[in-house]
Amino acid sequence: MRRSPADTERSARSISRRGLFLGGVQMTFAGLLIGRMRFMQVDQADEYRMLADENRINIRLIPPARGLVYDRKGVLLAGNEQNYRIVMVREDAGDPEEIIARLAHLVALDPEETADAVKEMKRRSPFVPVTVADRITWEDFAEVAVNAPALPGVTPEVGLSRIYPLDSDLAHILGYVGPVSDYDLSRLDDQDPLLQIPRFQIGKSGVEAKLERSLRGSAGTRQIEVNAVGRVMRELGRQEGDAGQNVQLTINHSLQNYVQQRLAGESAAAVVMDTVTGDILAIGSAPTFDPNKFVHGISLADYKALNEDPYRPLYNKSAAGLYPPGSTFKMVTALAALEDDLIDLDETVTCNGYTELHNRRFHCWKRGGHGKVNLVKSLRESCDVYYYDLAQRAGIERISAMGRKLGLGEKHDLPLSGIARGLMPTKSWKLESGKGEWVVGDSLNASIGQGFVLASPLQLAVMTARIASGTAIEPRLVRAIDGVETPIKGNVPLEGIDPENLAAVRRGMYEVVNGQRGTAGRSKVVAEGLRMAGKTGTSQVRNITKAERARGVTSNADLPWERRDHALFVCYAPHDNPRIAVSVVVEHGGGGSTAAAPIGRDILLQAHYDGLPPLSAYPSSQRGTIRSQQNNLDLRAPVEPSEGRDRV
């Protein structure tokens, strides 16, 4: 193409003009970009920098080691054990199924668990470690570690999990821990971020649940840098949390073991309490269960078996079980009447075998009657008619008030699950609960611990300790938390009870065991300075019908188990300087003197000697039987106190 110079000049000028213009536009736009850049990078830099930090810094929680629980001697009751498990990272494993198949050649794997693990791995990000096998043995752990090169993505790991070294002995006291559930979250109103950790273990019952705040500790934090998909790149900072506080209980582990063994085979409960300090030395509830099973995750079959057992092993009968206290309640009625001078210490009541009230007969357990009965005799021989008389003089309000003074009908503040309040009935209570007007007959039933009166073995132990010591002593289960001792409470004389009256009741209780015709005469202690005082009780589970009485069906052995009487016994020793109080309830055990009193004596002696008592403490005629009974007990070998928390 050829053009004239003028044409070229003109076109060049046009291009120059427009080129310059376009260049100018471009420069202006570049200026805009620079301005925008400056605005974002200089003026707004701080804001964006903060956003960038939020992006990359993630806080992860470090679960604290749970506080340990010791007995009064420093023996470990609840500890943390190293728990070996195998975790797997999908992206490192390549084909998880293939690797798991290889792993199965080395260690025994639960196919169900591994199938779940594979599912979990597919669902989660490829770099998230997933547990393939939990609680493997050290040998398996080592096996996997040695073969690591052949198992890409597989890592053996060590974690902490709860262990109860005395397994079933303290199941009802300690309770157990388990993974936090949605139900727990809704129930607890607890903002602790630790609860958001999947499968974080918290106390589910007993001391573990009640002292959860102390035992749990506080979370440590780990600041980690993560990338956009959440992969951990590196750790930026670490702040260790506080391990849970250690708890020392007042329980004596060897006595506890003895109590559980002594109660074994029965559906029974027993509480041992120090009458001076209020320390609970043992709380037995039989049958029991192994709390370790709950920590590992109990199988449905095992749980069903525990749940459907008529002896109710999961239930803490000592604190949660309520029983009509029967004749063990007679001290309360006696003290109520004595306190307001409604009867003299020596005044007698004649027992003909029954009391007639509004054409209804209230029977004494002794058909023929006790004849003339004073206070001591009424306790020794457990005459019912004497108390029917007292009930009519004192009335239910006085009796119930006395019961409350002695610790009945009150929820004692112990870190146990399901502590029952029991019942000290009053007129207004009956009316309010829609059972109608209070009648004198109700008072008569209440006076011998039947009818509406309900108490737990724990309350009966407190009652016995208060009668024995004359103080308003409160039970204490926690001796110290984190080294800080729990104060003893109620170590002051009982208000509004004349010490003389108490002494008289105590004399009666001494006679029960040591006197002629004492109902617990067969459960005597002959060791000098260790004479025991006590009171038997036999409480009816249902009323004996007239027809039955006529037929003569009064023997417990003729009845099915669940309709037999409860056997009760409360006792303390030494009688002249009380230190230890015991209460025993054998569900449907029959008579208190035969079923409960021997157990109470054995436990009391065991507590006093802190070990198997010498046979010389028993009456000579019984020593042979006691020896074989002692030999038959499956007691735990002595456990040495641990050196503190370093064991973890």
């Binding site: 291009i15 080129g19 850049m37 974002m40 990078q41 964006y48 920098r49 956003l51 960038a52």
Partner: protein, 381 residues
């Protein structure tokens, strides 16, 4: 150049041409590419693999191409313009038939040793063919409707093909680049006013058609527009790119977090960190100073092109140089606007820095043409 001018002017020949290559431009391009290698090294976590090394080889190849093209007289390239344009149209057609799909769009032809993106090539060949057209066309006819329609077709045919892939970024660059060429050639301003008015109408149509049967753009393109207008509406979804991009850029501050210290890109919060969003990594690690320096180098390249174009009496050379400069400008202007949240995310790489062979090769071929125009410009004796 008319033969009359041979008396007073000369054009370098033979090996002497090497002396007339603009070495400042070479240094600028190398500096920009060098910055790119640094960033690619950084976003790979301090490794030549997988990006920096490959990018260097392509740069070496591109530079060689540039020198070869610069040595060839510019009039040869003018004669080749139509052929090149035709070839790129055929390649675009091939993409439709045998192209490889990537990122939801069909853009590449796999040549075995590299993936060729014909749409990139078209950006340069369109400029070439328009420059040649206006060089051939009588100046007085430039604004006549018939002679306006012809270049308009040249622009819209490849644009339509690219849009079908779909590649919105390249389409915008083609239309804007082609429009700039027509503007430079002296087409009457009324045409532009009319086109802008039509453009506004088109945008309205695009927005109105959303959700109807005759919807013009793909859903993901609408999503990008929506999230551009309000990135906060979907911070973890489609707005994520824009939000993270702005965080990356803004958190750099004056001097940046330091080389290889950028948390956003190193931790993959930043999407497409080695391609379209690489500018934000630069801004994060080297701060405002680093980002402004890159922009300054880009502007120096533009200024050089404008200066040499204005000095050149050859109409084809001038138009070509200005056209390539404008294309280059559009690349970085759109890319930077995009990562700063000033424009929707349309997928335009940062020239000479973003990882990607086709774009870099094509740009260096373009600058080869600029150098050729510069070398073969008539100079005073």
């Amino acid at each position: 150049m008319s033969y009359l001018e041979y008396n007073v002017k000369f054009v370098p020949t033979g090996l002497r041409k090497v002396l007339y290559i603009n070495w400042v431009l070479v240094i600028l391009l190398t500096s920009v590419a060098g910055l790119g290698f640094l960033m690619l090294y950084s976003v790979a976590g301090g490794s030549m693999d997988p990006w920096a090394g490959a990018q260097m080889k392509r740069f070496a190849l591109g530079m060689s191409l540039m020198f070869i093209i610069a040595m060839v007289p510019i009039w040869f390239w003018r004669n080749m313009a139509v052929l090149a344009f035709g070839a790129s149209l055929i390649l675009l057609l091939l993409v439709d038939l045998v192209g490889v799909t990537g990122m939801g769009a069909q853009r590449w032809i796999d040549l075995g040793f590299m993936r060729l993106q014909p749409s990139e090539l078209t950006k340069i060949t369109l400029v070439m063919v328009l420059a040649a057209y206006y060089d051939w066309l009588d100046v007085s006819k430039v604004s006549r409707p018939l002679w306006v329609l012809l270049p308009l077709a040249m622009i819209l045919v490849p644009t339509a093909m690219v849009l079908r892939q779909p590649d919105l970024g390249t389409s915008i660059l083609l239309v804007a680049g082609g429009g700039a060429m027509m503007f430079l050639a002296g087409v009457n301003l009324f045409y532009f006013i009319a086109v802008i008015a039509a453009g506004v109408g088109l945008v309205t149509a695009v927005l109105v058609s959303k959700g109807t049967e005759w919807q013009i753009l793909k859903d993901y393109q609408y999503r990008r527009i929506d999230t551009f207008l309000d990135p906060a509406s979907d911070p973890l979804g489609a707005g994520y790119h824009i939000t993270q991009s702005k965080i990356t850029l803004g958190s750099g501050g004056w001097t940046g977090k330091g080389f290889m210290q950028g948390t956003q890109s190193r931790l993959s919060f930043l999407p497409e960190k080695h391609t379209d969003f690489i500018f934000t990594t630069l801004a994060e690690e080297f701060g405002f100073l680093g980002a402004a320096s890159l922009l300054a180098m880009y502007l120096l390249i533009i200024i050089f092109c404008v200066v040499t174009a204005l000095q050149n009496r050859d109409r084809f050379s001038s138009l070509l140089t200005l056209g390539i400069a404008t294309t280059f400008f559009l690349f970085f202007a759109v890319n930077m606007s995009m990562v700063m949240g000033l424009a929707p995310v349309v997928g335009v790489p940062l020239p000479m820095v973003s990882y990607g062979g086709s774009a870099m090769l094509v740009l260096l071929v373009g600058f080869g043409l600029v150098q050729s125009a510069h070398v073969h410009k008539a100079r005073q004796k």
